[in-house]
């Protein structure tokens, strides 16, 4: 039943937002997110026989999305062309464009979270603070706060132990607090 075309359509329509948002939280670029999005669902067709139930399906989709984003970040192109945020992240600097090119890159890097869609100025601040986090931290924030998953569920999806998840979540919170000066 899960392998039928109609069932696949249902799954896509039901989980498309979840996959899309998770991908955006990690890659921060619509084009990359689109590739990940397509990859995840095509992979689903190949592995649909292994899906046991709806809960398993959701976890599987999130896990594959995370893995695809990680794989993408390891590609040759990505390793050569680092984003502005990543450069500053590695140096531990604040996110602040200094040149026109860097500014363009920075603007592109937050494309997934279009500041123009933020309701308020505070919304822009929040998204800017989040975009300054490492992808591994952003996905934890996303899964914990948006998908409302437990630490245990997140640890399974990310392939980390629970303590590591807790540590990263704590660091991510601290970083956001610092950025927002809470």
């Amino acid at each position: 039943m899960l392998g039928s075309a109609a069932e696949l359509d249902r799954i896509v329509h039901q989980y498309k937002d979840m996959v899309w948002r998770a991908a955006l939280s990690m890659v921060k670029n619509r084009t990359e997110a689109e590739d990940v999005f397509q990859d995840v669902f095509v992979q689903l067709v190949r592995h649909i026989d292994r899906i046991e139930n709806e809960q398993h399906l959701k976890a599987w989709l999130l896990k594959v999305t995370v893995n695809r984003c990680r794989s993408w970040s390891k590609t040759a192109w990505k390793t050569r062309v680092q984003s502005y945020e990543e450069l500053h992240d590695e140096a531990g600097d604040a996110v602040e464009p200094v040149t026109e090119d860097e500014y363009r890159l920075a603007d592109e890097s937050v494309e997934g979270f279009d500041p123009s869609t933020a309701e308020t100025e505070r919304g822009e601040q929040v998204m800017t603070a989040l975009s300054g986090l490492k992808p591994e931290y952003r996905i934890i924030i996303h899964l914990f706060y948006y998908e409302s998953l437990s630490i245990r569920a997140i640890s399974r999806i990310l392939g980390l132990n629970e303590n590591a998840v807790k540590t990263r979540l704590s660091r991510a919170r601290d970083s956001i607090r610092r950025s927002l000066k809470l």
Partner: protein, 249 residues
């Protein structure tokens, strides 16, 4: 702004992020193609599995078929080659016969048929060239005793009737005359020897002052002509004239 507010803001902003309809449509299209390819592959694998299973069954069955085939072929070979086999066996038996005949001539004949042997020797000496020629001509090596017998008959100059019968192979039979007197053979069937390869036995007897020779041939061996011709030459008589009973048999 506290943590709850941050969480709420993040949720609100993220909620507005959705994949474009074009992306979803493109993804679905790719998925359907992938699904089609997978199903095609499954069908192909299924086909090969079926074929594999079929050939497996055939392989098992073919063992039986092969066994049955070999058995049939062997049976057919036996049927086809049987005459040859029989001939070969007959030849072996014939060789054995010849050894016994030789023994008969050299030993038994000394004891049992001294008079006959003397007569035969004498006749053979006088007409030996002719007999030997006939011998060679008709390849009478298989019934070496027959010319001797016929020569003896010729010596007596008695009318001879030849009875030729054709019969299947019978066990070798060697009955040597118990009496050394050729006159005692009157009215009796006397077995002088047997050639398993051609005839069962040669018999000679006398009825109403007529001598009869019986030659029985193994069925299916086409040497009748040679034998007839040999008899004609040996006895110097047309075969027909001495084979009055042939048609009856």
């Amino acid at each position: 702004m506290n943590e709850q507010e941050v969480r709420k803001i993040y949720k609100n902003v993220t909620e507005k992020e959705t994949p474009s309809a074009e992306l979803v449509s493109l993804t679905l299209s790719k998925m359907h193609k992938e699904l089609e390819a997978i199903e095609k592959e499954k069908r192909r694998i299924s086909f090969f599995e079926k074929m594999n299973s079929y050939f497996s069954r055939i392989k098992t069955q073919s063992r039986w078929m092969l066994t049955a085939g070999i058995a049939c072929t062997a049976a057919l070979c036996l049927i086809v080659l049987r005459p040859e086999t029989t001939l070969r066996m007959n030849t072996i038996i014939y060789q054995e016969d010849m050894r016994m005949l030789n023994a008969y001539r050299s030993d038994a004949a000394e004891l049992i048929l001294p008079q006959w042997r003397d007569r035969m020797d004498r006749i053979m000496q006088s007409t030996g060239g002719l007999k030997r020629t006939s011998y060679q001509f008709v390849d009478f090596s298989y019934d070496e005793d027959a010319p001797i017998l016929w020569a003896a008959i010729a010596e007596y100059d008695v009318p001879v009737k030849m009875q030729v019968t054709v019969s299947n192979f019978q066990p070798a039979l060697y009955e040597v005359m118990e009496s050394a007197d050729p006159n005692d053979i009157e009215g009796r069937t006397v077995y002088l020897g047997k050639d398993a390869s051609l005839g069962d036995c040669f018999a000679i007897w006398k009825e109403n002052d007529e001598w009869f020779i019986q030659v029985r041939f193994v069925d299916g061996i086409d040497k009748d002509h040679q034998i007839k011709k040999g008899i004609e030459e040996i006895l110097n008589l047309p075969f027909e004239s001495i084979s009055g009973n042939e048609e009856e048999n």
